[in-house]
């Protein structure tokens, strides 16, 4: 795709087109840049998913099974019986329009079918016609639509254009959650082989190797050692984190991007310094080497399948409890699904900080703690020694990631940590943070390159808010607690606000920590000179 200029992308009209929304046709060829490539057959075959094949949404023939309609109907019926959420959300919408301008994809594209209400209507119209009395009798008059191949193609386009961020559900007077609708629509599409490769390849990788990126155990170890080498160079300290160590007190699980790519690796280095600082008895696992869970973007069964490794590994290694790194959708799964799916974790103990003695009672059943909760407690109890001035070149703001904000409510912990480790912290405008935070535009498996135009559009509200604090306060670092953010926000910033970098919270923790026996640090974790206060005042 030839990248569009900012001016071209910003020609956004919120006025709907003349064409009625019930017309499902999508011109995939003309809309390259706003859809994702379908799953490669090999990934579906490995996972045992239906209808593996090579195809493209731009093709006329999507090579669906002959009885695709029956499969979808049967799947729909089954899910109506399994999920009260689905039934209630399909039945109660009054189309009041409160959600319309809350979706970043609508705000960035002006496409009316990106209004959450219409996204849900794509499914709801089929439900109405075939599963409700009024719809069966009145058809189109009751807002019903027949499930045609065009409608299915429209589902593919728009349900792989929702990042399941749940912003709309904050504003809906009935709490209708488009993430729930999208998740179930994707489950239905998976039944006939309509999925995207940027989701299914990580799923297949994760099942096989233990992580989304397909990093095998020896490479896992190499990567960790490489980062330890970097740390040795910066701090003069040799850290040797245990891998698959039986009998450790704590199993630590991070999203795989944190030990794979910039800027996640700096966050990972921050974790390692923190654990060294407090002398934590922990282990990494090359088997449970993924915190994230792309099953969330596939189907409920897949969530469970991938998440299985965490508890299984904790049990095998005989740890007392599990600590989790900075990741967004990982924490949606851990917080809202894991215990129900893979629990009860009765072989673990209620997480207790070996340093402060704090018992984290709010995790009494799941037995899994968020690193920001853990670190906040350490700081509050005065157990960490910081030199926040080492982060003085950064003017920092914090992007609440969708899932931790709206599926958990971890809002203050990361802020508390940040304010303890840096001297310049500024909030973005109220309507763009905390529970009203905007998505990075690349969540739920949409952070791939072929979908770039839609990512940049969906990321516009976030970028706009960053631009505001950049211009007002000179903010030059956007922090977050999500690996997908760390992968997608740099691209977004490069495009919209190129002066601003992206980091995790624990990268700044790592910078600020005064380690026993360390050198005078020549650089911070990303190799930038420390104490370069000029840089901060320049921006």
């Amino acid at each position: 795709m030839a990248e569009k200029t900012q001016q071209e992308l910003l020609q956004i009209r919120y006025t709907p087109p003349r064409r009625d929304w019930m017309d499902p046709s999508v011109d995939f060829e003309a809309r390259r840049g706003s859809w994702s490539y379908p799953a490669a057959g090999k990934n579906l075959t490995y996972l045992g998913f239906p209808n593996p094949r090579e195809w493209s949404p731009a093709d006329e023939d999507w090579k669906l099974p002959d009885n695709w309609r029956e499969i979808i109907y049967e799947g729909f019926r089954e899910r109506l019986k399994k999920f009260r959420s689905l039934r209630v959300f399909l039945d109660t919408c009054v189309r009041c329009g409160a959600c319309a301008d809350k979706c970043q994809f609508f705000l960035g594209s002006g496409d009316p079918k990106n209004m959450p209400v219409l996204r849900a209507e794509l499914l709801r119209s089929v439900y109405r016609r075939d599963f409700t009395t009024a719809g069966k009798i009145l058809g189109g008059l009751a807002g019903g639509r027949e499930l045609t191949p065009e409608v299915l193609k429209e589902w593919y386009y728009y349900f792989y254009q929702c990042t399941e961020c749940r912003r709309c559900s904050v504003f809906c007077p009935y709490g209708i959650d488009t993430a729930e609708i999208t998740m179930i629509a994707r489950e239905l599409m998976n039944l006939v082989g309509l999925n995207i490769n940027w989701v299914m390849e990580p799923v297949a990788n994760c099942d096989r190797t233990g992580n989304h990126l397909g990093i095998q155990p020896h490479t896992f170890k190499d990567n960790v050692e490489f980062l330890c080498d970097e740390l040795a160079e910066i701090t003069g300290l040799r850290i040797d984190p245990p891998i698959n160590k039986k009998g450790a007190e704590i199993l630590f699980i991070v999203p795989s991007a944190d030990y794979f790519a910039d800027p996640g690796i700096f966050t990972f280095m921050g974790y390692l310094l923190l654990f060294e600082h407090i002398g934590l008895d922990y282990t990494l696992s090359a088997y449970a080497s993924e915190g994230g869970n792309f099953g969330l973007f596939t189907s409920h069964d897949t969530i469970k399948r991938l998440n299985y490794k965490m508890y299984a590994e904790a049990k095998r290694l005989g740890v007392k409890w599990i600590l989790g790194g900075e990741c967004g959708h990982m924490w949606r799964v851990i917080h809202q699904y894991m215990d129900t799916m893979n629990g009860p974790a009765d072989f673990l103990e209620v997480p207790k900080s070996p340093v402060t003695g704090t018992v984290f009672d709010h995790t009494a059943s799941t037995k899994m703690l968020h690193i920001c909760e853990f670190t906040s407690d350490l700081i509050k109890n005065g157990r960490l020694k910081f030199d926040p001035s080492r982060n003085d070149r950064y003017r920092v703001t914090f992007h609440d990631s969708c899932n931790p904000a709206r599926g958990m409510g971890i809002l203050e912990e990361p802020r508390y940590v940040l304010k303890s480790v840096c001297n310049h912290f500024y909030e973005m405008p109220d309507n763009t943070i905390r529970e009203q935070t905007f998505c990075c535009g690349g969540g739920a498996g949409l952070g791939n390159d072929e979908n770039m135009e839609m990512r940049l559009r969906g990321g516009l509200p976030r970028a706009n808010a960053v631009q505001y604090v950049h211009e007002k306060y000179g903010v030059n670092l956007l922090t977050c607690i999500c690996a997908i953010d760390r992968a997608t926000l740099p691209t977004l910033m490069d495009y919209w606000v190129p002066e601003v970098g992206v980091s995790g919270v624990h990268e700044l923790v790592g910078n600020a920590l005064i380690m026993e026996g360390e050198n005078e640090r020549p650089t911070d974790l990303r190799g930038e000179p420390i104490g370069d206060k000029e840089a901060a005042s320049d921006v």
Binding site: R95, P112, V170, N244, Y308, R406, R434
Partner: protein, 330 residues
Amino acid sequence: MRALTALLVVAVLLGVVWLGAGVAGWHAFFGVAVPYAAVLIFLIGIVWRVVTWARSPVPFRIPTTCGQQRSLDWIPSSTLENPHDGWGVTRRMALEVLLFRSLFRNTRTELTPTKRLVYESDRYLWVAALAFHWSFLVIFLRHLRFFLQPVPQLVTFLESVDGFFQLAVPTLFLSDVLILAALLYLLGRRLLNRQLRYISLPADYFALFLLLAVAITGVLMRYVTKVDLVAAKELAMGLVTFSPKVPTVIGTPFYIHIFFVSVLFAYFPFSKLTHMAGIFLSPTRNLANNNRKRRHVNPWNPEVEVHTYAQWEEDFHDKLVAAGIPLDKE
């Protein structure tokens, strides 16, 4: 177009009752049979609807959290926006149901000519929604005067508050003014706001026209055409005591009014109006965010295929050995 379709349906309904009760004089049918049937359909329909919802389980605990979680003792948690227990949920739900908390958050987003997104608080919908629903409730309760003997004190009290301004004779009820104003605003908004018009279905307009028809006929009867209140009460008391009597002096406007009310009752369970019951069952609002503290049980938790550690160790055996990662099996 969709609005016209809905308006046409309401016009046809008006024609039906005009001809039936007014011209043909089928008073027993429109005064007794139709209301009984409507209430029966309403009761059966709403029970069926709620039972259908309730029969589908809530497999996962998925509250939408709109505030700080309860985690560490020294971080104040937002018990209303992110409740961690039943009491918090009760208060969150009360705020939603009684005051439309989520709608209160509403913002309007604009893209300025300098390409900045600006969010402004937009509470018009919230005000209109509150005005409509609360007026409707007050009017509904005031109507108990016709169905109960003696008239309960609550009803006379409501009337005195509602008619506080004593602006005209008969006393102008505030709720009558508010409900008409609110319905007209909601309709106007649906027609004039282009995004909203785009998403609106005939059913959305139908509900508004039907409610307007109910309200307008009621208001006309009270303030303009005047209905024989004694006769109206006689009919209403007959209905609730299951000894229906049809008074002769009651007049066509009355039949039009109760016909529209009957249609509203019968239509209710099969339409979006069930949001009244649905809100109570919404899993993003009615569950406590205590996920990690208490295990939520999924009644159909399926068995799934997994890649076990033993399989994984076998798959990567040589590489594990080469990397010096400890094995379970040597």
